[in-house]
Symmetry: C2
Subunit: 246 residues, 2 copies
């Protein structure tokens, strides 16, 4: 069984300008791993209509599920809903259910500006926002979430039960002070004989002249992971080095 695939599209200028360190990719990536979805690509683009349309069309065609964050508020730079409506050739319309949600939350403070947050592409399914009411929406295989991490995370946990899922990914990390280049050849051989797992080699720079390596074995079959990990440990040991399994 092949796991379903997904892409993330981060929409907004704040990550590209360097003002904000993105936190949404890592949260969604971990959640997708837990439910057995392969995160195949991430794009970060500015609030520019043509770029949103192009990215949505490319990613929604290529992957099973697409998650967007950002641009669904009520200020002038929030153009995600309108752009995604265009990407799918749908009208942007006022969703009656969303209006009710906003009325209940904002009461007499609901005004023309805030009503913009009830405008979604036709045929959308609303995504509940447990933090600040204004909903996200799903259209086709694209899930549009808020950009603020606390709100995005709450929305993501709402949609999890509705997502296509696969076999959970597991990962075991073998850490050692061996230099990765000293085991590159046997490591390639272990990868070649364990094709259903993915073996990553990540050197880390500890201090000047001092290096370590993290060898990460990831996949959906725990037996195969354990088998590959045992082979890696044996290789490190045969070269007279210690290791730690995490």
């Amino acid at each position: 069984m092949t796991n379903p695939t997904a892409a993330i599209l981060i929409i907004g200028n704040e990550v590209l300008s360097g003002r904000t360190q993105d936190a949404n990719v890592n949260f969604i990536a971990k959640r997708l791993g837990d439910i057995g979805v392969t995160l195949a690509e991430v794009r970060i683009i500015p609030d520019v209509e043509s770029m949103i349309i192009e990215a949505i069309q490319a990613l929604s065609t290529r992957y099973d599920q697409v998650f967007t964050t950002g641009g669904i508020g009520a200020t002038h730079d929030d153009i995600t809903a309108a752009s995604i409506a265009k990407a799918f050739n749908r009208q942007l319309h006022t969703n009656a259910e969303a209006v009710k949600i906003l009325q209940t939350y904002y009461l007499e403070r609901l005004n023309e500006t805030r009503l913009k947050m009830a405008m979604v592409p036709e045929d959308s399914i609303l995504i509940k926002n447990p933090v600040s009411a204004a909903p996200g929406f799903q259209i086709e295989n694209v899930y549009c979430l808020a950009g603020i991490p606390a709100v995005m995370q709450a929305m993501f946990d709402v949609i999890i039960p509705t997502l296509k899922i696969g076999q959970t990914f597991h990962a075991i990390t073998v850490k050692s002070h061996i230099l990765e280049n000293d085991i590159a050849e046997p490591l390639a051989e272990i990868q070649n004989t364990h094709t259903t797992v993915e073996i990553g080699s990540y050197p880390s720079f500890l201090s000047p002249g001092k290096w370590g390596v993290s060898l990460v074995v990831r996949g959906t079959d725990p037996d195969m992971i354990n088998h590959a990990v045992a082979a890696i440990c044996k290789t490190i040991q045969s070269q007279g080095h210690d290791y730690v399994i995490e």
Copy 2:
């Protein structure tokens, strides 16, 4: 004068699997802002040859400069140099200058595996690695850097003097406890009358029921930024709220 544009391509499975929180985008984004380069797009893709080729061809055609991180080591999952050679229809060859660098650094520890790090696309210019010797490379308008943040950062500072630059970006942030939706309309008007700056509105969720907003005015013309900031402050004040300028 329009500033030159750039894209970042993060190559590697560790960010997509959720194992690693990317730190390279934020570092490069800030540096590009300082030298007046507009970061227009970021993509994060796995170590898959076809995806690297496609992304390099798309981004190098569209933007003035492309920066890649990751996949230039000597283990089996390091396929950046070979993939980028294919993207530009060049041979992957052993660079004599790179061999010398590796010989000087590794001495008798230089072996067949480590020599893989001297293989770059033909017509590449090497990028010095002040941390761990193995060089990056530039081919056409694509700069290929290491994935480890400490190494990538040192390499990036090496190439800065060679990059196309523009007018430095400046940004001023106005912070207030006003709700962004309460000034959405005048804010849109201020954006419309200050088209050479980019005004971003970023609500932040402080605690349940307590919100703040950061209004970021960014651009290359300090006078226009100050003018827009003054208009924003006046709007906030007229609604009886305080603000802080950062």
